[in-house]
């Protein structure tokens, strides 16, 4: 049954150097983007993409590598968002310190939750993770003196930061872009480190067969907790980034089960338990939801004359298609689970392998 999983097949030697070079080139190109692109909407989409990559990669550590399907990561995302903004608005603590506090808080909560819920397996663990996230959401909703309840927290502008002569003002989207890019690099590197470290092998052993891993002397609860801890810290980072970028949070945006589900979807659609999977998943989901939200598809349909803007169909599409991105997510998940259980990345790899085999067969 586990044969369906993408086993991290060792890449042939020499290709590692190429992929490092490719990765550096991609990051360099991304770093150069704000120099050429000043359109705030384009930068906004890139920031959303970065956020999704961080969320997906963060979940991937515990869900993908250690195989513990938490559907309650909204808890850590929300803690990241809330701690950062509460510290900034109420205690006037600079967000770049607040974020660290938020990550520490998420880590602490994760370790408590983990040591309780990791005694459970399979579907029971999934249910427990959801219940814990709900408990945290309801606590935030009812702890009005600190969290402002359902009204949420609206923060003023983010204080500027000074490095000697240069000051960075968080007014335009450019500083957020660079911060996001740096966080993406850090998160993806963390995934890479996990995949190739001894710790990562322990995680994957637990994922493949916990009892076998246990019998080989791997401390299950400890290693699951380590995986959850790493995952929670990066999830809190994403939450904190979101809160500072949007400057408004409430329980129904950062603490709902939708956030948790979205994190899982990014990984499933891209390819779970791989470094590139969450990146691909985030690319697909952000591209899809933004084209729908901006009514691009309807505009294209109208401009090529498939439907007229005045007709009832055109009006209906314009009215409704922009809200349909969750519907498309749902369809996408169903399709991916049924037809590409290893995600887009796994599907691409498999069809490439098949093509290579076919080519080898022809030669013979």
């Amino acid at each position: 049954m586990d044969a369906m999983r993408p086993s991290p097949s060792p890449a042939p030697r020499g290709s590692a150097r190429i992929s490092v070079a490719a990765a550096v080139a991609v990051v360099a190109a991304l770093a150069a983007v704000p120099a050429f692109v000043s359109n705030p909407y384009a930068l906004h989409i890139m920031i959303l993409l970065f956020l999704s990559v961080i969320m997906g990669s963060a979940w991937n550590v515990v869900g993908g590598y250690a195989g513990q399907y938490s559907v309650g990561h909204a808890a850590y995302y929300g803690i990241g968002a809330y701690v950062t903004l509460i510290f900034m608005t109420q205690y006037r603590i600079m967000p770049w310190w607040g974020t660290w506090v938020a990550m520490a808080a998420a880590l602490a909560v994760a370790l408590v939750i983990g040591s309780i819920t990791f005694r459970l397996r399979g579907p029971y663990f999934v249910l427990a993770s959801i219940a814990v996230a709900e408990v945290i959401r309801l606590t935030v909703l009812n702890w009005k003196s600190v969290t402002n309840g359902a009204e949420g927290i609206l923060s003023g502008p983010i204080p500027k930061i000074a490095f000697g002569e240069t000051t960075i003002k968080f007014i335009s989207k450019v500083p957020f872009y660079y911060v996001g890019l740096a966080m993406v690099v850090a998160t993806v590197l963390a995934n890479l480190a996990v995949q190739h470290s001894k710790l990562g092998y322990y995680f994957q052993a637990i994922r493949e067969d916990q009892d076998a891993a246990h019998s080989l002397g791997i401390n299950l609860t400890f290693h699951k907790n380590v995986a959850l801890g790493i995952s929670a810290v990066f999830t809190a980072l994403a939450g904190s980034y979101y809160a500072l970028y949007v400057r408004f949070i409430d329980p129904s945006t950062v603490l709902t089960i939708d956030v948790s589900v979205q994190m899982v979807l990014i990984c499933i659609i891209g390819g779970i338990g791989t470094v590139l999977g969450p990146v691909i998943g985030a690319l697909v989901l952000v591209a899809l939801s933004e084209t729908l939200r901006s009514n691009l598809i309807t505009d294209v349909l109208i401009s090529i004359g498939a439907v007229s803007a005045e007709s009832r169909v055109g009006a209906f599409l314009k009215e409704h298609l922009s809200h349909a991105h969750m519907l498309i997510y749902g369809v996408l998940v169903v399709v991916v689970i049924l037809f590409m259980p290893d995600g887009i990345l796994g599907w691409v790899r498999q069809s490439m392998r098949r093509r290579a085999l076919a080519a080898a067969g022809e030669k013979r």
Binding site: M1, M4, H323, G330
Partner: protein, 288 residues
């Protein structure tokens, strides 16, 4: 004391509906070992079905069960045949995600068709209540409790006395052995998913006079159904019935004695405690 009794009784009335939702979920889990994350969305479909029947033909919500039950049964059977059946041997995670995906499709299609406006179904008796032994009972909830009890009783009879019911129980006990005994396991799976969906839809019809109807209404009910089912032991119909009543009473008492904002919190904390200390449920290992 009167307050205590009053809240216990109102809790039981609401708990009856929870029990019905939980029974559907536990039936599906028992036979297929699949946790249906789209369960609340099936309930949502039942609510909208009732609402449409009420606004279009002035059909009484309780009568519309006669429509909603078969409709949701067919829908559930279709879902099982086309989607769920393909992942029966897959990783549990993938099964969960498939049902999450199906749920997203259902709730967002509802949003597409009906917008996210809150709908209310106001009957002449929506806010009516009557007195019984000094306690005040909400009429629609009391009627729905009676209907729930009847349906549950019929289900027990069906599972215990009929051949098909016994075949379902056998499939739940041991799928392979049941197949070897000549039971059509595929058909039993379709049947139980259909029944599970029909129960969820019926519960939706029953609560539609007292709840807001909107596309995302299902999610909290999905979570609550999990609580109900785990409390009673996954796969146990008797357990789900008791679990439903227990959750209803816990909620009602928590609302009265702690705070109405915290009632769900209390339920989830109880749920976590049960998961940790008695994961097989309060009734132990019994199945169906």
């Amino acid at each position: 004391m009167a307050l205590f009794l009053q809240s216990v009784v109102s809790g039981l009335l609401v708990g009856g509906v929870y029990a019905l939702i939980g029974i559907g979920l536990t039936l599906i889990f028992g036979v297929m070992r699949i946790i249906n994350f789209a369960h609340g969305d099936l309930l949502m479909m039942g609510m909208y079905g009732t609402w449409i029947a009420f606004t279009a033909w002035k059909l009484d919500p309780f009568l519309s069960i006669l429509l909603v039950f078969p409709a949701l049964f067919l829908w559930g059977a279709f879902l099982q045949r086309t989607f769920i059946n393909r992942v029966l041997g897959a990783l549990p995670q993938n099964q969960i995600l498939l049902t999450i995906g199906l749920g997203l499709v259902m709730s967002n299609t509802a949003m597409f068709l009906f917008t996210s406006d809150y709908r209310i179904l106001t009957t002449s008796y929506s806010s009516e209540s009557f007195q019984l032994a000094g306690l005040s009972l909400s009429s629609p909830l009391a009627v729905s409790f009676v209907i729930t009890a009847t349906i549950t009783a019929i289900l027990y009879w069906f599972l215990m006395k009929t051949d098909t019911g016994q075949a379902i129980r056998a499939t739940a006990q041991d799928r392979d052995a049941a197949q070897l005994m000549g039971i059509n396991v595929r058909w039993m799976s379709i049947l139980s998913f259909g029944l599970g969906a029909a129960f969820a839809g019926t519960a939706g019809a029953l609560i539609s006079p007292t709840y807001y109807i909107f596309p995302q209404v299902g999610q909290p009910f999905t979570l609550k159904a999990f609580v109900v089912v785990v409390l009673g032991g996954m796969g146990s119909v008797v357990g789900a019935t008791l679990g439903g009543l227990l959750v209803g009473v816990t909620e009602s008492l928590a609302a009265v004695y702690i705070s109405s904002g915290l009632k769900d919190l209390v339920v989830y904390v109880v749920f976590l405690l049960i998961l940790l200390f008695k994961p097989a449920g309060l009734l132990g290992k019994s199945r169906m």
